[in-house]
């Protein structure tokens, strides 16, 4: 349903072009949940924006293709893209206030979204909004509809944002860290709703996060990003329980729950390189204990990972 091939997104900076997304390829089937995991600056959010054609200047997609339901999205005219976006592809952001307008009632915003794509009466648009709020577990949706975003709590706002994303029953939802700002119990509720919604509506979901443990409970497949590239991709079981790339292994080892209590955590030395000054060859080379002369050449993606000396 979604096929991304060799996608490259660059940002023009004073110090030259910086590749935020570098030759990324993956596929997604209907009903599938793909977790994209990475640390700050790994390019995971830019990848999400690139799929929806939301990369603004100075950034642009240099090459590669994004095929969605047989259509090529890269280079698609804005008008055609707008018809697709919000209708068949929806996005959920980390901060629900990026979706919501603080000075409009929820009803105005939801009805507007319905009417933007469908030629229906206002009455039907309101009915569909109520239905959508109900779907994400908001109690007494009809009266909540009249309220403004500031009258909702953080968790409720995120539910409203999800309800708006679901209004047109999209085939693909791209969610960028939607639970990161929420409390543990509220995060549990949202994860529960998303899991249920994917099962019920048959939508495919891309879940972008820095949190490996969220992905473990949710995703069918996991892609790990480092310095703009997917360094490992496979089923959730493979990636989380038998990682092949040393960076994936390092990330998993850094999680406190995977360590002996009060003992030193196994840590990855050094820090994430700046995208403007990536090391030659494999970008993880300088932090990797397995690196040798061969790693001065960039590794190809084969057998689940992009590494010259994979584990297991």
């Amino acid at each position: 349903m979604l096929e991304v091939r060799d996608l490259v997104t660059e940002f023009a900076t004073g110090a030259g072009a910086v590749r935020a997304v570098d030759e990324v390829s993956f596929e997604l089937k209907p009903k599938e949940i793909l977790g994209i995991v990475g640390e700050s600056g790994s390019g995971k959010s830019v990848l999400g924006y690139s799929i929806l054609g939301l990369v603004d200047s100075p950034g642009r997609i240099i090459s590669g293709s994004v095929r969605f339901a047989g259509q090529e999205l890269v280079g698609m005219p804005d008008a055609a893209m707008r018809r697709l976006r919000g209708k068949r592809i929806a996005m959920i952001f980390q901060d629900p206030m990026m979706t919501l307008n603080p000075v409009l009632s929820v009803e105005t915003q939801m009805v507007e979204t319905v009417l933007a794509h469908d030629d229906v009466s206002r009455k039907i648009a309101v009915e569909r909004s109520v239905e959508s709020l109900n779907l994400v577990g908001i109690a007494s949706p009809a009266s909540r509809l009249e309220q403004y975003p500031h009258e909702f709590s953080g968790g409720m706002r995120q539910r409203v944002a999800i309800a708006i994303a679901l209004l047109h029953r999209p085939d693909l939802i791209v969610a960028d860290e939607p639970t990161t700002a929420l409390d543990v119990t509220v995060q549990g509720q949202i994860l529960y709703e998303m899991q249920r919604l994917v099962r019920e509506t048959g939508a495919a979901l891309i879940w972008i996060t820095h949190d490996l443990s969220v992905v473990a409970g949710l995703a069918d497949r996991v892609a790990v990003m480092y310095a703009g590239r997917i360094v490992e991709e496979g089923s959730a079981d493979e990636v989380l329980y038998a990682p092949r790339h040393p960076y994936t292994r390092g990330l998993l080892d850094s999680v406190p729950a995977n360590n002996e209590g009060r003992a030193r955590l196994r840590q990855i030395p050094g820090m994430t390189p700046s995208l403007a000054h990536l090391p030659v060859g494999c970008s993880f080379r300088e932090r990797c204990s397995r690196a040798d002369a061969e790693c001065l050449l960039a590794p190809d993606f084969k057998n689940r990972t992009r590494c010259h000396h994979p584990l297991c």
Partner: protein, 318 residues
């Protein structure tokens, strides 16, 4: 080392002019009061690491500030080594946002060196070497001393915040979400630094976090708060093996974990109520799957259910 006895903190909003006039005319308007911290008592022993967990609005940060002496409690008392925390060395605080807590217009050597100079711990002559030593202690290269905070990465900024706290030779550190803003791999490095420093300097920590995984790793004992009150205190091993309070149980069940694959999430219902209008009786009763009639009326006392283990739940009355 640190003892909190029945500490409460209330924040009120003064009525504005219109409201005061209305009240003078006989309209019933009360000043809204938030019980941020409501009758909290516990001790932290020398060399101990105590974790303080809870969700937003539970009062954990306010309590941390009270422990540091940054906020004066409305009632109750704070004893630091048996005395009110007035004398040096006071407990030091490490804040969540490693950027917001560093003055962007000060050089690292000023940030780290200011407090010890003001308190007369070191003379102007020795300050240079002293700052270098502090930077080395947290794993930063002393040659960075002339740089400004924006020239550092998030993890390095966190280290500067720690160096600043250590510069006044504290024995007690309050870490308020000190690693929450960091990436996993950087978080691991900073947590290791906390463990190393504790071993080397014999520090005591009150470690405030919403991240139960981090607290489990670091703390020996855990205090769980909900809407200003302590609901459970237990050793880390006991708490994670068999949480007693229904809120602790829900909190632990809700945490996404690596070893739970594609499980079905079954969350507790409802949201955290506003601390402006907390529910009657046990604050947790509207969300509690095992709430009884009594929970609506009566506040459960925090009492010992096993040696060294406290919980505030009516279910323990059998």
């Amino acid at each position: 080392m640190l003892e909190l006895i029945n500490v409460s903190k209330r924040f009120g909003k003064r009525l504005d002019a219109v409201e005061r006039v209305a009240r003078a005319l006989g309209v019933k308007i009360a000043e809204p009061i938030v019980h941020a911290v409501d009758g909290v008592s516990f001790k932290v022993g020398r060399g101990e690491v105590v974790g303080l967990v809870g969700e937003s609005g539970c009062g954990k940060s306010t309590l941390g500030r009270i422990a540091c002496g940054l906020v004066v409690p409305s009632s109750g008392s704070v004893l630091y080594q048996g005395k009110p925390p007035a004398a040096m060395p006071r407990p030091q605080m490490i804040f969540q946002d490693p950027f917001a807590s560093l003055n962007p217009r000060m050089r690292v050597e000023e940030i780290v060196g200011e407090a010890p100079l003001v308190h007369g711990l070191v003379s102007k002559m020795e300050i240079r070497n002293y700052v270098d030593e502090m930077l080395r202690q947290v794993g930063l290269d002393p040659s960075y001393r002339k740089r400004y905070p924006h020239q550092f990465s998030g993890g390095q900024r966190a280290r500067i915040g720690i160096a600043r706290a250590l510069a006044v030779k504290p024995e007690f550190l309050v870490c308020d979400e000190a690693v929450a803003a960091l990436d996993v791999s950087i978080q691991a490095q900073v947590l290791n630094l906390f463990l190393d420093l504790r071993e080397r300097l014999g520090l005591t920590y009150l470690f405030i976090s919403h991240d139960l995984g981090v607290v489990r790793h670091l703390a020996q004992r855990v205090v769980v708060m909900y809407l200003g009150r302590v609901v459970e205190i237990a050793t880390t091993a006991d708490l994670y093996a068999a949480p007693n309070h229904p809120y602790t149980q829900a909190l632990l069940a809700g945490v996404p974990r690596l070893d739970r694959q594609r499980r079905t999430y079954a969350p507790i219902k409802g949201e955290i109520p506003s601390p402006l209008a907390p529910p009657s009786g046990c604050h947790f009763h509207p969300r509690c799957p095992r709430a009884m009639e009594r929970c609506k009326r009566e506040v459960p006392a925090l009492r010992e259910i096993a040696p060294g283990r406290l919980s505030a739940c009516h279910l323990n009355d059998g």
